[in-house]
Structure formats: structure tokens, C-alpha cells
């Protein structure tokens, strides 16, 4: 599967890693609910680091559509929370 880290790169990951990715994503979600900024930063970094470590970068000249897209690495808890409530990261 192809996972994009927004503002960074696309990564090619083994499909078998999907469950682990899902776990990490849920962990991030839990920290958003708790409102704990430090916990959010740590959990989100773990998710990004997992993708960077497990994936291989898709070349710039290759045109691929991502299966999953992760927010940029400098996203704040407030921005992430807004994703679920209102305008979200990408306003229309």
C-alpha cells in the first residue's frame, strides 16, 4: 500500500503492516480525545516514524495515488482535533 506523509513523501509499505498502522492511528486518536499535547506529539511521531522506517520512498517522478494520507509532521493537537469537528486541515 502507498502511504503519503503530507508535505513530505509517499512511502510504499507492505500490505501486512496495515493492522499495525491502524493501531498506531487509533493511539493518536486517543490522545486527541484526551487533549494531552505531549502524548499526542509522541503518538503521532511514532506513527510517522513507523511509516518512514517500514516504507520505501516513492520517487518524485512516479505518479501514484496514495491509499492513506497522514497529516504533516508539524500538525498541532488543535489542528488535529479540528479535523474532526469543523473546517479541518484542508479548507474548501
Amino acid at each position: 500500500m502507498i502511504v503519503r506523509i503530507s508535505g513530505e513523501d509517499q512511502y510504499l509499505l507492505e500490505d501486512s503492516l496495515h493492522d499495525r498502522l491502524n493501531q498506531l492511528d487509533s493511539a493518536v486518536l486517543a490522545t486527541i480525545d484526551s487533549g494531552d499535547e505531549a502524548a499526542f506529539d509522541a503518538a503521532f511521531k511514532e506513527l510517522l516514524d513507523f511509516v518512514r522506517a517500514q516504507g520505501s520512498v516513492v520517487g518524485d517522478e512516479e505518479i501514484e495515488t496514495s491509499d492513506l494520507i497522514l497529516p504533516p509532521d508539524d500538525i498541532t493537537l488543535a489542528e488535529a482535533a479540528a479535523e474532526f469537528t469543523g473546517e479541518g486541515l484542508i479548507p474548501d
Binding site: 505518479i63 491509499d67 479535523e83
Partner: protein
Amino acid sequence: MAGLTGRMSTVVKAKVSKLLDRAEDPAETLDYSYQKQVEQLQNVKKGIADVVTAKKRLQLQETSLQQQVVKLDTQARQAVSSGKEDLARVALERKNIAQTELQSLDTQVAELESQQEKLTDSEQKLRAKIESFRTKKEVIKAQYSAAEAQVKISEAATGVGEQMADVGLAMQRAVDKTENMKARADAVQELEAAGTFDDLTALGPGEDDIDRQLKSLSSKSAVDDDLAKLKGEIGAGGPSGETGELPAGGEADPVGEPTKEQSA
């Protein structure tokens, strides 16, 4: 995937399909996409230029504040050697405020620097993809039937569209951050110019009584330099009323030193 990733993916995909919706037939998809891609590339260039402009502006403010710090430091030293502890305290307090502002500016400049790098990187990626799309569309046109070509072109257009949406997001974030910093820089500048708030006006061109006193002290020190030095050596830090806080501009002279308004 439900979480943050799922939501982000959905939003981006919605944006991409919206981007491509307007084209009906394959040729149109191709032309429309390519035209949009080139436009987007121009936008990114403009976005980078905006960030650079904002950065330069903050750097100018930094230079001005650095000069202010040097000036206040000099004035504090002069005040001490003249036995004017109150005045020295005020100068040091303002120097402190200027230094705090400087640190905050440093952070902002670094932030814009990183935004600039990100955008430049995004621009290169998008440029590479657009170039690739251009080559690919010729191959698709030559090798596939109309129906197949439509599918292939849609795929390629969606892929580039995703990159475009991503660059768009990076730009949006850069613009937001730049706007916030601009607003802050404007606010600081207005306060400086208006001369209303002591803690900030003292850093800018707005002069108040304290500034005038400090200035008068500087010019006096220039004249009575030797005398001041001597006083400093002999009876350093003469009588002083320790106020401990920054007097408001326009208040009565806190040191009992006659203010020489004309000596600037």
C-alpha cells in the same frame, strides 16, 4: 481506516476528485489537468516568494531591535557611571523586553525558514510529477484505445492531483503562519510608533520622557565623559530611589534630573 489518517485521506481524495470533476472527456481531462498543474506550480512559486518577503521583514525588525539592545545597554552603563540607578534600571528593563522580542523573532524567522524549505521541496516534487505526467500522456495517447486511455489518464491525473492537493495544503499552512506573524509584526510596529505602551514603545521610534532623559544623559555624558567616569570610580551608584518597576511614559521625572528636551 477510521482515525486521523482516514479522515485526512478522505478530505484529500474529495479535493482531488473535485479538481478533476470538471473535465468530461479524456482529452479534456488531460488538457485541464495539465493546465491546472502548471497553474499550481506558479502558485507555489508565488507562495515561496511571499514567505521570503515575510521573513525579510522580520529580519529587518530583528536588526532594528538588535541596535536597540546595544543602545539601551550603552545607556544603562552610562546611567550607572553617572550614579543614576533608576535610569539604569529602566534602560536594563527595556533592554530585557527588546531581548525577549528578539528571541520571539528568532523563533518566527526559523519557522518561516522551515516553511520556505518545505515549499521549495514541494515545488520540486510537483515539478517532477508534472514533467512525468507530460511524458506519460503522450505514451498513453499513442498506445491505448480511447476507453483505455481515459482510465489511464484519469489515474495519472488523480496521482498528480494528489500531489497538487498536498502542495496546496503546505501553502495554506505557510500562508496562515505568515499571516499570523505579519499581524504580530504590524501590532508591534504600531505600538512602537504610537508611543502608547511603555514596554513596547520604548523599543521603537516613539519617544517618551524616559527616552528623552536617557538621550539627554547620553549627550551629557559625551560632554562630561571624564567627569562621569570619575564619579563612577569614586562614589559609584550614588543616591537612588529604587522604584523597581517601569514608570509610565509621561510621568514625572523619577530621578530629579532636569530634562533637556532640546538636546536630542
